[in-house]
Each structure stands twice: as C-alpha cells, then as structure tokens.
Amino acid sequence: MDIQTLEKHARQVRRDIITMTAAAGSGHPGGSLSSTEAFVALYFDVMNIDPADEKNPNRDRFVLSKGHSAPGLYGTLCERGFFSREEFAHFRQLHGILQGHPDVKKCPGVDASTGSLGQGISIAAGMALGAKHTGNKCRVYTIIGDGESQEGLVWEASMAAAHYKLDNLTVILDHNGLQIDGSNDEVMSLGDIKAKAIAFGYDVIEVQDGNDMKQVVEALHTPPCPGKPRYIILNTLKGKGVSFMEGQVGWHGKAPNAEQAEQALKELEG
C-alpha cells in the first residue's frame, strides 16, 4: 500500500483515539498516538490478516504487550474493518467489546488479552514457538513499551526467544521515552537498550523516526534474519499528532475534555 494511503489511515486512527478517549472520559492517548504508525503499517501493509476470516489459523498474530495503548489498536482494527465505528461510543463501558485493555474473548481481531505489562511479549514468544512446533508459517508481532521493558518478564521472554531461535517473532519497541511518573531516565533508566537487545540475541533494527510511515514500513518489511528473533526500535514521540499532547508525560493516561478533543481533531484533519 502506498505511504500516502497509510498516512491517511493513520490520521483517521489518531482521530478515533481522541474521539473514543474523550467519549469515555478515560483511557491512554499518549502511547496510542506514538504507536499509530506501527499499528497501521502492521494491519494495512505487513500482516497477513483478513477481517472476514479473523480466526484463520494461518493468519499472522499481533499481541499488544503495552495493552494500555488499546485505543490505538481499536482505532486500527475498526479502520481495517473488524468492527464498526459505533463501538467507540461503548469504549470502556459496561458490556462493551472495547474493554479498557484488549480482551481476546470480547474484541474481534485481538489475539491475546493484555494489560499486565511484560506478559504480552512472553505470550507472543509462546505463539511463535507454538507456530514453529505445529509447522504454522505465520509471523507473530508484538509492540512493547519502553517503560514496560523495566519488567523482568520482558527479558525472560527475550532470552527464550533467542534460545528457541524464534525468527518468526518481531518485537517492536515503542520508544517514546516517557512513562507515568516521568521520563524513563527519571524513573528507571533503560541504559543502552539497543546494546541490550543485541546482547539478548535479537537481530536489531533501529528506526530513527518511528512516526515516519515510510521508515516504519521499511523496517517491518526487512526480511527475517534466520535463527534470530527481530527487534525493531521505533524512536517515537508520545502524543504524536496533537500539539498539546506531544512529549507530555501527563497525557499517558488522561482523556481530553470536550474542548481539548475539538482542538485535537482540528489538528488531525485532512
């Protein structure tokens, strides 16, 4: 798919992130906006998936390890045709399919329930191992957060991914540098995350601008490195696309009010 079309989808997903969090009065816009290019590139250009055949056993799998960025995933799944835009009115509401964090039992297109940080990458590694064991040629993608990478489980999973030579696994780091209590460096420095990923046995690609669709698509299309799991560092901007949210810690888990939403939607027009 051409980059311009992908960018158009990304703008719509960003609008949906604003719309649904504003309607719910809660949710996590910041990390949803930083991951948007990755979501759209995966669902529109990279992954082998079909909303009309969403349980096809040979489909590629996606696990949102940073489950709080659900609004970005929901916006993308909707834009891709997994469910109607009307569901956004029920985001985070009783009986809704769009739970605060992705729920595999409720939401079409979701492959694992996530929200407890560190678990998604481990589940994704298990999927990749299971796929290899059963001869399933699918690929497994997961997006993890940089704050999430403080969880020990991320590194347990990484060790296992290398040990089992899971070259059908792609771990995408949304490196926006911010988490609830401040920057990564203020809270718990990640150190040289690239060196760590390499040391853990990943084939690592670093994308200078993880909010540049062309760069993201290119990285995701890079052929797998035989015998090694893939790790893509996306250097992103938290709150990307909404001027007053960009680079602001406070917008990790706070919804815009009506006035702010209006301004954000205006900025995301076109």
Partner: protein, 305 residues
C-alpha cells in the same frame, strides 16, 4: 501397601497422554527431575520445552502455545503458584486459554527444603480464579485420572501433587467434580483431599475402635466442588471435620464451609496448617509437628465430639 509419590504418577500420566495426544506439550522450569516430567522429556524430546529458571515466562509461553492448538502442561513447584500468579491470572485464566498446571512438592511433606518451599496457599489462590479447575489427587491412581481429565477440559486446570511416596489405593471410580465416599459412617464426617487421605483413614480407625463411626469423603476436585455430597454428609453426620495439607484459610476447609453453611451442622472444625509457614524436617516429623497424623486428627475429633 505399594507406595508411590503422586508427582511420579503425574510424570507417568503425561507420558501416556503424550502417546495418545500429539497436541500435548510439556513445559518445565529446570525442575524436570523433580516434577517428574523428565520421563516425558525422554519419550518426546521435541514436545518438551525447558523454559529455564523463569516460571513467569513459562506460563505466558504456554498461553501463547495454547493459541496454536497445543495443550501445554506447565510443571514446577506448587510454591511458585505465587511467583507466576499474575501470568496464571491474566495470561491464562482471563482469556480462558487451554493451559494446564501440574505443580508438585505441595504442602509440608516436601520435607527438608523447608518453609520457603512449602506451598500452603496454592489451593486458595487457584480456586479463586474464574474458570480454573482445581484437582488435588489423593494417590497415584487418582492422579492418572486427573491428568486425563485435565486434557479433556477446555480451559485452565491446576493439579496439585506431592513429593512424598504415599500409599497407592485400589483404583476408584473417578468423575471430575465429584467427591468419593471412602467409608460410610454417621457419627461424624471427615472431608479430606490429597495425601491426607491416609491420615484421615488412620484417624477413622482409631475412632472406630472407640465405637465412633466416621464417614470419610475424599475430594480430588476442589473446584468445581461437589457441594451436594458435602451437604449430604454434613446433614447426615452433623459433625464435620476437614483435613488438608494446606492452610486452614482458603483451602478445602473453607470450600466445605461455604458449601454447608446453611446445613445446620452442630460441629465444624478445619484441620490443616494453622495460618503459619512450614519448616525443614523429615516428612513424618513435620506431619506430627503440625498435628496432621492419624492419632492427632482422631484426638482433635474426639475433643470436639
């Protein structure tokens, strides 16, 4: 009487299951020679996955593998039910993934390794999880049936096993979710689970010698619980005692209490680990220290009757 540790039966049952069902895979966290999954590892090396000393990752890897149509059995020590609880809760139970947990070395009879390794709370934390089936086999034969049943259940299952070699009784009819009447009686009812059956039977013999006819009901399934059978025996005997190698908080005792709360019983007493941790020792000495031998159980029952 032949003796065999329930964990040994777990290992044997997995091998048999692996032969019948190629979807069965076994994951362990560097404890295959203790959880007895090494037999499966030897028989089906391509279906055995060592996850290293990383129990949390083992559970979520199993969750992922189950989505590919496999039936993973995660094996480690029961005490680590706490260590990977978040993964069992959110990674497996919340999405209702088809993952089994065969956790061994439960209770104080693991012996010399001491209190740091003695799970006295695993039944409690497992039974509170929605959709989780909880098996506590009382002997090797029952363990075979529990493993078979676990593979047939679509969803998470916990199987609690023990390290100590314990008596192997003649095979009894097995239905998941149903209790088993071991001996009938009407003066008091002793409800038990797991390897405490042996000691409950010893206690009943002592009571019998004093003219007290105790019924024994063994529950290999704590969840879903056979509330009807518990209520029937509570109503018949009106004096109820629960015996378990687990904390008296949250385990079999509380499961029974919830079931019979409106049953109008005269006496109810939970016999188990009294809200304390374990310690190192020989299994037989530990059972005595924590007052779980047949004579001690009989003494408590006599005091309350």
């Amino acid at each position: 009487m032949e003796k065999k540790a329930v964990r040994v039966a777990y290992g044997e049952a997995l091998v048999k299951l692996g032969e019948e069902n190629e979807k069965v895979v076994v994951l362990d966290a560097d404890l295959a020679s203790a959880t007895m999954t090494n037999a499966f590892k030897k028989a089906y090396p391509d279906r055995f996955f060592d996850c290293g000393i990383a129990e949390a990752n083992m559970v979520d890897m199993a969750a992922g593998m189950s989505t590919m149509g496999l039936i993973p059995f995660c094996s480690t020590f029961a005490v680590f039910a706490g260590r990977n609880y978040d993964q069992i809760r959110n990674g497996v139970c919340y999405p209702k993934f088809n993952v089994k947990f065969g956790f061994s070395h439960a209770g104080i009879t693991l012996g010399e390794d001491g209190g740091s390794h003695m799970a006295i709370e695993d039944i409690a934390i497992m039974r509170v999880l929605p959709g989780m089936t909880v098996f506590v086999p009382s002997d090797a034969n029952e363990c075979y049936r529990c493993v078979e049943a676990a593979a047939k259940i679509e969803g998470p299952v916990y199987i609690r096993t023990s390290r100590l070699a314990t008596p192997v009784y003649d095979p009894r009819p097995f239905t998941a979710g149903k209790g088993t009447v071991i001996r009938d009686g009407s003066d008091c009812a002793i409800f038990t689970c797991g390897i405490m059956l042996e000691h409950a039977m010893d206690a009943a013999e002592i009571l019998e010698s004093k003219g007290i006819h105790a019924a024994i009901v063994s529950f290999h399934t704590i969840k879903p619980f056979d509330e009807e059978l518990a209520r029937t025996y509570a109503a018949r005997c009106r004096k109820v005692f629960t015996v378990e190698e687990h904390s008296v908080i949250g385990g079999l005792g509380d499961t029974v209490a919830s079931a019979i709360i409106c049953g109008g019983v005269e006496t109810f007493r939970k016999i188990g680990i009294n809200d304390v941790f374990g310690q190192s020792g020989k299994p037989a000495d530990l059972l005595k220290e924590y007052e779980l031998t047949g004579p001690q159980i009989a003494e408590k029952i006599l005091k309350d009757l």
